[in-house]
């Protein structure tokens, strides 16, 4: 079972993600901030992280940069209310980008795609 870390400052969104992604067969751990995410990452291994770009007073992009540097083997998908970041250079570090929607199909497809790519990479 793949372990996912979901970072979003909205409690209801964390809940929605957790419910929907568990239904998809993932183990989901959630965090409301960068600090909590760092805490959850401490001593734990995650197969993928889903990050919100705007985290209250923090930037998900900064957290993305930190994760890419420290956990380069863990792919990251950005999930944001902003479509404009999709073409932004700062977001290009992420392995995937999904605009937030009540329909989580795209997010689920993206998670599956990125995990499959990671698995293929590990094999080769």
């Amino acid at each position: 079972m793949s372990r996912l870390l979901v970072v979003d400052d909205e409690a209801n969104i964390r809940l929605l993600y957790a419910e929907e992604l568990k239904d998809e067969g993932y183990e989901v751990v959630t965090a409301a901030s960068s600090a909590e995410a760092a805490e959850k990452l401490q001593g734990n291994v995650f197969d993928l992280a889903v990050l919100d770009i705007k985290l209250k007073n923090e930037s998900g992009i900064e957290l993305l940069q930190k994760l890419v540097k420290e956990r380069h083997d863990m792919p990251v998908i950005l999930c944001s209310a902003f479509s404009c970041y999709k073409d932004d250079f700062s977001a290009w570090l992420a392995d995937g980008y999904v605009v937030k929607s009540g329909d989580l199909t795209e997010l689920k497809q993206e998670i599956a795609r990125v995990l499959a790519k990671k698995a293929q990479k590990a094999k080769s």
Partner: protein
């Protein structure tokens, strides 16, 4: 004593006196004037006077002395009149010069007038003159302009031209400025280049004259102890005049004048006249130089003002952008997150509710409406984002290939085939990459519900003059031109929100960047889009 002449008659006839010429008829009726002016020259009168002396008349020597004195005074008066006439001419010349110099703030014009005045026959009539100017920044006195012939042949040619044309000083100066200023500068370039003396070289005769603020007449230059040998050799004359140009106690420059062709002696009189002339020239040169500097500063200030205005406009635009950005951000978070939560949980509930559940219809309505609201929100946010494009030079192939990569999955899943052909060596285009990417994605995905059987999209790019033309030919969507035009008007019908704003938004975005966007519909062949991308950075529209 017999009177053989007419001198004692009050009135005489023209035939009586051979000394009275035409135009002097008033002497015929004026005995006193006739005697003082004409009779002294008359042989008959002199003979009469001699007879008076022979008769030992005591008045004879006195009369002779009186007449001699009268003659001497007459000559003196004539000399003074001649002197006054010369001075009047000189005054008129200086006045004319002063008027021209006072009215000009153009340095080249002032210099043309000054040097023409020194060398023109109607002016001071010197053969040649060099003007040197002080450069306070470089702390040197340097040669700036020369005027005059370099040899006798050139001299006779130039002086003949001047005599034939009979021009006044101002016309001469204008003529010089228009036709000869640059050629004279080039002609004396070699001399002017060597006429550079540091202001700190106090022993140099040029600096001595400048510091002394008095003209110096140099005679015997080749043996002169104060004249450097190279200066004498450079000028090639034994006698020349150094006239410092001083304005309000400031050293403006120096005029070196000589008679290198005629070798006419330079008199004290010439020197004093030139000295008088030097003051207005120095003042005019200084004023013109200051005006030049003022003009440069004015241009700089105008440029700075223009830049400041541009900066202010930029700041206002950036503030607007920041405001739009903040509003967008606020909308994105305030609306999208709740929509997502409502829609997400509704879907979750729908997924987990049995088909027979009577409330399922309600939940389906929530899902559909939130989805519709999400699409509307996307379009509004994209529309806001389109208001302030950020343009730079980009590679067209990179743009098209990136968009084709992004849309490949969805287009392939729907059975679309895409092809891209590009002309080699396309120039970079000046665009907002993000917005163009959005537009291309929208155009490519616009036909996912197309009803045509030919599901192919062909893209091509080619360079034409200052543009790269991007063509997208979609053979799948078959609508009329009127329907297509309707789709290109943003928010034309609110009921279409969420269904038809994509193309309209593309058009708005591209127009904001000054990029023509043409969409032509053919009910049988499909839609042909043409986007003309600029390859040059133009002013903001």
């Amino acid at each position: 004593m017999d009177q053989e002449c007419c001198w004692n008659r009050d009135v005489i006839e023209q035939a009586d006196c051979s000394k009275i010429n035409e135009g002097e008829e008033e002497l015929l009726a004026s005995k006193l004037q006739r005697v003082t002016e004409k009779c002294r020259e008359c042989d008959v009168f002199i003979a009469n006077l001699g007879r008076l002396r022979d008769d030992a008349n005591p008045l004879a020597p006195i009369l002779s002395d009186v007449l001699n004195e009268n003659r001497r005074q007459k000559i003196q008066i004539q000399s003074l009149v001649s002197f006054l006439d010369n001075k009047t001419l000189e005054m008129r010349f200086v006045h004319e010069l002063g008027s021209v110099l006072q009215s000009s703030v153009d340095l080249d014009e002032v210099l043309s007038v000054a040097l023409t005045a020194i060398t023109a026959g109607k002016g001071f009539g010197m053969n040649r003159a060099f003007l040197l100017l002080t450069d306070r920044e470089a702390n040197v006195l340097h040669g700036y302009l020369g005027i005059g012939p370099r040899n006798i042949e050139e001299a006779s040619q130039v002086w003949n031209e001047i005599i034939q044309n009979d021009m006044d000083l101002q016309t001469l100066a204008q003529n010089f400025r228009l036709n000869k200023l640059s050629s004279e500068r080039a002609k004396f370039h070699d001399v002017l280049e060597q006429l550079t003396v540091p202001l700190s070289n106090k022993n140099h005769i040029l600096i001595k004259a400048l510091d002394g603020k008095r003209p110096i007449m140099v005679e015997g230059a080749f043996q002169h102890p104060d004249v450097p040998a190279e200066l004498a050799r450079l000028l090639g004359v034994d006698t020349f005049l150094l006239m410092p140009l001083i304005s309000r106690n400031r050293r403006v420059g120096m005029i070196i004048a000589d008679n290198c062709i005629t070798h006419r002696a330079i008199t004290e009189e010439d020197m004093h006249s030139l000295e008088t002339f030097g003051f207005p020239v120095a003042f005019a040169i200084e004023r013109a130089s200051l005006y030049d500097k003022l003009q440069v500063e004015l241009n700089r200030v105008t440029e700075a003002g223009k830049k400041l205005k541009e900066q202010q406009e930029l700041i206002v635009r950036m503030e607007n952008m920041a405001l739009v950005g903040r509003i967008t951000s606020s909308i994105a978070h305030s609306v999208r997150n709740p929509l997502m939560i409502i829609g997400g949980f509704a879907r979750s509930m729908l997924k987990n509710s049995p088909v027979s559940d009577p409330k399922r219809t309600f939940i389906e309505s929530i899902v559909a409406e939130t989805r519709q609201l999400e699409v509307v929100l996307d379009e509004i946010l994209n529309y806001s984002d389109s208001l302030y494009p950020t343009r730079d030079f980009w590679d067209v192939n990179q743009l098209v290939e990136a968009v084709l990569r992004d849309t490949a999955d969805i287009l392939t899943s729907l059975g679309y085939a895409t092809g891209y052909s590009s002309e080699p060596d396309l120039p970079p285009v000046f665009i907002d990459f993000k917005q163009l990417s959005y537009c291309l994605r929208t155009v490519l995905q616009n036909d996912i519900n197309g009803l045509g059987t030919d599901r192919s999209i062909e893209i091509s790019s080619q360079s034409v003059e200052d543009c790269v033309i991007l063509k997208i030919e979609d053979h799948s969507r078959h609508i009329s031109q009127a329907e297509l035009d309707h789709l290109l008007v943003p928010f034309s019908e609110t009921r279409d929100l969420g269904a038809g704003l994509g193309l309209a938004l593309c058009k708005t975005m591209l127009e904001k960047q000054g990029i023509p966007f043409v969409a032509l519909a053919d009910e049988h062949a499909g839609i042909k889009y043409t986007i003309t991308l600029p390859t040059r950075k133009e002013e903001q529209p």
